[in-house]
């Protein structure tokens, strides 16, 4: 690989060592307000900073008014799909009991790094969010599914749950009302696909974490144990205490009409100050985020920007041409990508593009659950083809085979960004797919983006038709 190993001694270290990677800045803080405290995870600090006041405010109103308030806030789900949480809650069928809440804390999308901080640094905020959601939507048991590879988050959330039970916030007759709910901490065991909400439910039922066939499309109708089930992301729920306490008007005053509030974004890769930032939703642009003094402060070593992944490993890539797009779903979609789960990965001009794409193709090929053939077989084919090209043994026929395999996962035009340099127009969202969930397409997305936006980087690596020679077996066999 051409990338030199970098000694990271000159990189800026987070001012808050207990919240690694997080930079507060002079911006509205809805979900990260307690990250400044080393003891932000304790009930004592939570009480001292307005904790559980949102729950008290919610319990003073009838449940449907609380649900209406959340709907009016247009709080968008932070797991990747960006679906309005209040609308999702409304999909539960009338009169079917019991209903469950499943918290998706299985954060594992490449580049994404926010739910872990929320669970480690402010677990009570998440718990309060779970309680408000359960009260508003009539959910009688909550399962907090945390990714297995996050033991610190488990320890912090377990302690916080114990504190909250003892203080009367969880369990029967919460704060002296009729409202009662249990919150059960559940442990994952390592599987990216479990982040898909129906796979999450399968996993919680003790099964292999494979996504369910659709329809039914929403677990809100048929979910855990066949019952109505709300599945919400950690960051989504962490917004609820603010909305319940301050109201939807205060919430929508931040950000834009279609993308209100704030959201957490992790910027990683070749920037001067990689970090996790809570940004104003809808209006902050990628340029501000990548170059702003308050954010990532520009590309490392004075290099140029080559490309960036705007919304987690599953998102088609952008280049400098798309820097002025704001964090607003429809605009990112029209430009040929998506905002996904709030993760920006930056590649500078020294980047070995095929090798970078390979790291993502390998990830999704590895994480295929095996249920859908186009993903199971296609993802593996893509991985092997790209590996061969990166190793220097590829041919131009391999490039064509990659596109052919891609067509069997995502038939038709694959979305990508525009490129003035190459005379390409953007192909907007959405793409077609032959798989149940997005793992299959996600194996194709990075290599398709890389080959579309930087064809010369691949042409330089492969042997052309007419120039091909046989490859010694030993050279091809090296893993």
């Amino acid at each position: 690989m051409s990338t030199e190993y970098t000694e990271n001694t000159d990189r800026v270290v987070s001012p808050l060592p207990w919240a690694p990677g997080f930079y507060p800045g002079d911006r509205p803080q809805i979900v990260t307000s307690r990250f400044q405290y080393e003891d932000g995870h304790t009930l004592e600090r939570y009480h001292a900073t307005g904790g559980y006041e949102g729950l008290r405010a919610a319990l003073a109103k009838p449940p449907d008014e609380v649900a209406e308030e959340v709907k009016n806030s247009t709080l968008l789900g932070r797991g990747g799909a960006g679906f309005p949480a209040g609308v999702k809650w409304g999909f539960t069928p009338q009169g079917v009991w019991p209903r469950y809440l499943v918290v998706n804390g299985d954060e594992s999308e490449p580049g994404t790094y926010k739910d872990r901080l929320l669970m480690e640094c402010d677990p009570h905020q998440l718990i309060e969010g779970c309680l408000i959601a359960s009260y508003a939507a009539g959910l009688s048991q909550c399962f907090l599914y945390i990714r297995g590879e996050m033991p610190l988050a488990h320890e912090r959330v377990a302690t916080a749950l114990d504190e909250a039970y003892a203080a009367g916030y969880i369990g029967t007759n919460i704060l002296g009302t009729d409202f009662g709910v249990d919150i059960v901490l559940h442990t994952g065991a390592g599987a990216y696909v479990v982040g898909e909400e129906t796979a999450l439910i399968e996993s919680l039922e003790g099964e292999r974490g494979m996504p369910r066939l659709k329809p039914p499309y929403f677990p809100a109708a048929v979910g855990l144990y066949g019952q109505p089930t709300i599945v919400n992301n950690v960051e989504t729920l962490a917004n609820l205490p603010f909305i319940a306490k301050e109201g939807s008007v205060a919430y929508t005053a931040i950000g834009t009409a279609t993308s209100p509030g704030t959201r957490m974004i992790a910027v990683s890769g070749h920037v001067k100050r990689p970090g996790v930032y809570e940004i104003v939703n809808g209006s902050t642009t990628f340029r501000e985020l990548l170059y702003g003094e308050d954010f990532a402060q520009g590309i490392r070593d004075g290099n140029d920007l080559k490309a960036f992944v705007p919304g987690g490993g599953s998102a088609p890539w952008f280049t400098a041409e798309q820097l002025d797009i704001p964090f607003e779903g429809p605009q990112a979609g029209a430009a040929g990508s998506m905002l996904g789960s709030g993760a920006v990965m930056v590649m500078d001009s020294t980047t070995d593009i095929p090798a970078a794409a390979l790291s993502l193709v390998r990830f999704y090929a590895h994480e295929s659950c095996g249920k859908c053939v186009p993903c199971r077989e296609g993802g593996t084919w893509l991985y092997r083809l790209v590996q061969r090209i990166v190793d220097g043994h590829g041919t131009d026929a391999d490039l064509q085979t990659i596109l052919d395999v891609g067509q069997s996962i995502c038939p038709g035009d694959m979305q990508h960004a525009s490129s003035e340099r190459l005379g390409l127009d953007a192909v907007p969202f959405p793409y077609k797919m032959t798989t149940i969930c997005f793992v299959g397409p996600s194996a194709y997305v990075p290599i398709h983006s890389a080959m579309t936006l930087f064809p010369e980087d691949f042409d330089a690596l492969v042997t052309k038709r007419g120039e091909r020679r046989s490859i010694p077996v030993m050279a091809g066999a090296g893993e």
Partner: protein
């Protein structure tokens, strides 16, 4: 002798009672067995099957899907080096080469003293701190070759015994639900009425 200990059976029963259906406790109980034995044994899977009323094949069927479960003896310390994009961009591959050199083993194997197992891993949700690794799932950030060597020295000398528990132990504390405050987890088939706080106002 790798069935769950008497103490862990009590823990297991408490965990099972938290779920409306017993099988939901499958993954937490396999974790419990891995915490006890360092890896997942056949006897432990049989025992888990007994506890939640499923067949041993169902336990293995589910457990084998998940990467954290290991079915053969594993080093006391499992070092996972992340190789996904952000870490790849910041030199994960070179870090892996260094780690293999330093330990004298290839990724996927265990040192001859049984102390350290080295693995390639995927995204560890610490992308801004690349390159990262986890030792028994405890994060290490911005890992240089020197920092890796220091980590290995510290693991060998026991200097990190207080910080990094042996492989299999995840969280060092467990949620305790006080019986007097618990709502309980009835089987959904036994629930007919809505929750008490949801008043359906008569028309």
């Amino acid at each position: 002798m790798s069935r769950l200990s008497d103490h862990n059976v009590l823990v297991a029963k408490e965990i099972i009672a938290r779920y409306p259906k017993k099988k939901s406790a499958l993954i937490p109980l396999v974790h419990l067995s891995q915490e006890q034995n360092g890896y997942v044994t056949e006897d432990a899977m049989r025992h888990v099957a007994e506890l939640i009323d499923v067949t041993p094949a169902e336990v293995y069927g589910t457990a084998s899907f998940y990467e954290m479960f290991r079915f053969e003896p594993t080093g006391k310390y499992l070092i996972n080096i992340c190789g996904t994009m952000s870490c790849q961009l910041m030199g994960a591959e070179q870090l892996m080469h260094h780690a293999e050199d330093r330990l004298g083993i290839r990724a996927g194997s265990t040192t001859s003293d049984g102390l350290i197992t080295l693995q390639h891993a995927e995204c560890q949700a610490a992308c801004t701190e690349a390159p990262t690794l986890q030792v028994n799932y405890r994060h290490r950030y911005r890992v240089t070759p020197e920092a890796f060597d220091q980590l290995v020295d510290d693991l060998r000398s026991g200097a990190l015994d207080d910080v990094v528990p042996p492989h299999g132990t995840l969280a060092r504390n467990r949620q305790q639900i006080p019986a007097e405050r618990a709502v309980g987890a009835p089987d959904p088939d036994d629930v007919t009425e809505g929750p008490a706080w949801i008043q359906v106002t008569p028309a």
